[in-house]
Symmetry: C2
Subunit: 372 residues, 2 copies
């Protein structure tokens, strides 16, 4: 179990609030809440907020039934609970807290993922406040990973790799399974390797379903000759894995498949080679994309080349055109070019890499061939 320094993270958040001239960040259940306290939960209709004040305090405002759980799970000492009998007093607690600090007309940064229903309440309770988004202070803190975070990401990557190799090892046994059965197989094996969950519902797309980049899984039976795109990742200490391979488990792949696979693999390698400190995100995207465009598949590659990964599956930096953000040591991102031929098949190959002082290192490293 990696230990994270939540006190330092909170202090950094407070300094960042001062730097941008904001008074408080109001964080609902989200990766931001997990980053700052180690605790989060499914977002719900119940009001549950962490308020981080620029002046140096941190306060949880939670339903009474969460009191013991939050006290056990976090280092935050000021936990205020609203009585379940009168939920309308929940926002009153927020108001009392902000009034104590003279912030009814302050600059309040709301969690980016806060539900519209709560956003509306903030606007109604604090008509004189100025509102912004919590990512104004948290994005820059979360984007560069510490050694402890990298350790968790590497463990999540390793166990995802172990499962990827096992699935590859099943070979022709996969033929005849449904996409959903294979997805369950992946989830079970992730757990067996020590994952505390799945980074996202695994994608298993066979045949034409592999041409839908965000397909999950269906009852389609995997047949001989089907390209099978598998995108999944485990979780270690809250940090996510994410890798993709496209295999054909038996029989002859469809016409053009081998060319497409070779093109995507080449694009993936060029992308990874391009990742280095001071290189811009768009440069990496370009490096991968020009291989695919040169091969004539430019129109069939209609998504960005990669995204950051941490506590959240899709977070900055985003490797895409027109993003001139420079990569820095400690950033972690996916490199995942793909080609999708609608109604026929798709190929994507994805690994995570961490930016180092001199270039990058792969977090994933299993065979990238399409033959098991």
């Amino acid at each position: 179990m990696v230990q994270f320094d939540f006190t330092r993270r909170t202090r950094d958040c407070q300094s960042a609030l001062v730097d941008v001239g904001a008074d408080a960040a109001i964080v609902s259940p989200s990766p931001d809440m997990e980053y700052l306290t180690g605790f989060t939960d499914e977002p719900d209709r119940r009001l549950l907020f962490l308020v981080v004040l620029a002046t140096g305090e941190s306060v949880f405002i939670v339903p009474e039934m969460y009191r013991e759980q939050i006290a056990d799970a976090t280092e935050v000492e000021d936990v205020r609970t609203w009585p379940w009998r009168s939920p309308e007093t929940a926002m009153d607690l927020v108001e009392a807290l902000l009034s104590e600090h003279d912030l009814r007309d302050g600059t309040l940064l709301l969690e980016d993922r806060m539900w519209a229903t709560f956003v509306g309440q903030f606007h109604a309770y604090f008509p004189d406040a100025t509102f912004g988004l919590a990512s104004d202070v948290l994005e820059d803190l979360r984007i560069r990973k510490t050694d402890e975070e990298l350790r968790a990401l590497e463990e999540a990557g390793s166990l995802s790799d172990e499962v990827a190799e096992e699935i590859r090892g099943l070979g022709a046994d996969v033929v005849g399974m449904t996409e959903r059965e294979l997805a369950f197989e992946i989830k079970t094996r992730l757990r067996d390797h020590g994952s505390t969950g799945v980074a996202f519902e695994p994608m298993v797309g066979a045949g034409p379903n592999s041409a839908k980049p965000h397909h999950r899984h269906s009852d389609r039976v995997i047949r001989e000759g089907d390209p099978v795109m598998m995108d999944f990742g485990g979780i270690v200490d809250g940090y996510l894995g994410d890798q993709t391979r496209t295999l054909v488990f038996g029989g002859e792949p469809p016409a053009e498949f081998e060319d497409v696979h070779e093109t995507v693999l080449e694009a993936h390698e060029r992308g990874v080679d391009a990742v280095a400190p001071r290189v811009t995100a768009e440069t990496v995207d370009e490096a991968a994309r020009e291989v695919i465009e040169a091969a004539g598949y430019g129109d069939a590659y209609y998504h960005r080349t990669g995204h950051g990964v941490g506590l959240e599956l899709h977070e900055p930096p985003f490797l895409k055109p027109n993003n001139d953000r420079e990569l820095e040591p400690g950033m972690v991102c996916s490199v995942e070019p793909g080609v999708y031929l609608a109604g026929r098949f798709g190929v994507r190959i994805e690994d995570l890499v961490v930016v180092t002082e001199s270039g990058c290192e792969r977090i994933n490293d299993t065979p990238r061939t399409w033959e098991p």
Copy 2:
């Protein structure tokens, strides 16, 4: 596979928009989107909206990479995609659509779960619009379940029950497992019985962890004499199961446990007995609560008695004090009183019921005793 009538649901939503004097509902990925179209996805930073216009049209605005998937999965014919290269044009597409219908200053109902980051964009793009919440029209549609929905809920309940009975049947074999191992066991068995996922990450709380109503699971080993609270449910066609039992798998339960269990069971039965059409939600809460208060555990029961269940785990009607909403045939809700003695143990017993013309019927029905 139950077939739902998405065309009718959308038409009902449009009539409701007219009734409340609103012009459009703008729905981000959520149970509302699933209700209206059969499609949803994890909420993400990518803009993906369904716009339902009071005038009778329905339009998806989605990233290019979702085009094929949305076209295959839904009946919505007008699917407009924004080019991945310039995501800033996504809101421009929304603007163009609303301008076509002369609604830049209309009344727009935003999905309750829409992220703050998108809410902010709507306020910036449409400064003259009036904003409300999509639940203003969708809550009343979703709260009464059709026969098709009830069929799915009953199947989800049955398979959850089957797993509950199997776990009960493990008896003393559970002693020595960790909470997490038992949770994985539950998830695996839900899948084996045909569930397409878990309604929520199962709760397995042993010993003092059973006194935390929203605990998930930890590495704590289940010991002899531990009360073990298990709250979980499967999913069938998108509809959720949700039931709770508290068992002692071996050894002697702690002092006072048997009294508490008897009290909670009595409260549960009284609650279920109270569910009937034209009875108010608060009346059901009261029926269960007065048993627990009379036994002297009133302070240890600090949550509502139940909530509606459908595509969403916690949805109206909420069985709680001061809620005078009358129950109606077709509503489905949990009845789940509990007593939580901090640092010692907790007991909760939960079943779903459906309101009928004359009273209610249980969706779950497995033994409610604490002995396996």
